[in-house]
């Protein structure tokens, strides 16, 4: 089940779902239904939803920075194929995470954060392909921990499940990047 589907289940009461189904809106894809559910969720907004939106917005900020970081890596001239393709693929995942987070925040009545005009990265330390991969791995590891720390504080179990879905993706990125620099891809039985 995708994040869209999780958020759909969160967003749409049964009567709303029935309406959308009969009107054909659900057939147009998860993103449409996600946005269509916004009014009902906005009405239901409360402190718990505000808290969830804050968590989602922090995650969105980090995802947007990850997209920018991979862009720096891709444009560094240090990544050789097929590693370059891998980095672009991972960047694409972060873009997808960001888009879904943005949509969900909007649906919940929040205002999504925008990408910063400029990000600071330790480019002076990135001199080889391995440097770039280790830097990316450190961000991915941080992302795993961040989502792990976010899962239990969401008030919505659907959002917690969705965050766990992203966590799994970040963990795979981390493992692949570790493997690419010759480190044990899965260093322990648990993440923290």
């Amino acid at each position: 089940m995708s994040f869209f589907a999780y958020a759909n289940a969160l967003a749409l009461p049964e009567n709303r779902r029935r309406f959308l189904k009969t009107s054909g809106a659900l057939l147009s894809g998860g993103a449409v239904a996600l946005l269509a559910g916004a009014p009902s969720l906005a009405r239901a907004a409360d402190k718990h939803a505000e808290s969830d939106v804050r968590i989602l917005n922090t995650a969105l900020g980090a995802e947007l920075e990850a997209v920018a970081a991979y862009q720096v890596g891709a444009e560094s001239g240090l990544l050789q194929k097929p590693v370059l393709d891998l980095a672009v693929t991972f960047q694409g995942h972060h873009k997808e995470h960001a888009e879904v987070l943005r949509s969900t925040i909007t649906k919940l009545g929040g205002k999504p954060v925008e990408a910063k005009a400029k990000y600071t990265f330790p480019v002076e330390n990135l001199k080889t392909q391995a440097d770039v991969l280790k830097f990316a791995a450190s961000l991915e590891k941080g992302a795993v921990s961040a989502y792990l720390g976010a899962v239990p504080v969401f008030h919505s179990r659907d959002l917690a499940k969705a965050a766990a879905s992203i966590l799994g993706d970040e963990a795979m990125h981390w493992a692949v990047l570790r493997n690419a620099v010759g480190e044990a891809p899965v260093p322990a039985a648990f993440v923290s």
């Binding site: 808290s51 804050r54 922090t58 900020g61 980090a62 941080g142 921990s145 961040a146």
Partner: protein, 133 residues
């Protein structure tokens, strides 16, 4: 009794504090910055020592008023928290950010292990002041 522990118990008695309440001070004092660097790797999705990211920079943290890094966009909750960062306030916040500062943007469950928190705080203390503004 070790020399460093004795004054703490004396203070506990003087102020009517239980040793339990004094635990954060003990834990923070016992932290290992090298081990703390490993714990800090959990923070790297949002933080860096030397520059602002999704979260604010951590250099110069000790003694800084919460929500006061120039140019960083904090939550209103953090700006109004009245916290000044030291080993004790850091211990409380890192243990449970959302409970310590309700409304913080740091939507994170916290570092629950006292030893890990002590190590992390030792690392943050060792980071020292910022090299540039």
């Amino acid at each position: 009794m070790k020399k460093g522990v004795r004054p703490l118990f004396l203070l506990c008695g003087k102020w009517g504090l239980t040793p339990f309440l004094a635990l954060p001070l003990v834990a923070a004092a016992a932290g290992d910055p090298k081990a703390g660097e490993q714990v800090y790797s959990r923070c790297l999705a949002c933080h860096a020592i030397d520059y602002d990211r999704t979260g604010p920079r951590h250099c110069g943290l000790i003694g800084r008023k919460a929500g006061s890094v120039p140019g960083f966009q904090y939550s209103e909750a953090m700006k109004k928290s009245g916290i000044v960062w030291n080993t004790k306030t850091l211990d409380m916040f890192i243990k449970d950010p959302l409970k310590t500062v309700p409304g913080t943007a740091m939507g994170y469950d916290g570092v629950k292990d006292p030893k890990e928190r002590a190590d992390l705080i030792a690392y943050l203390v060792a980071a020292g002041p910022c090299k540039t503004k």
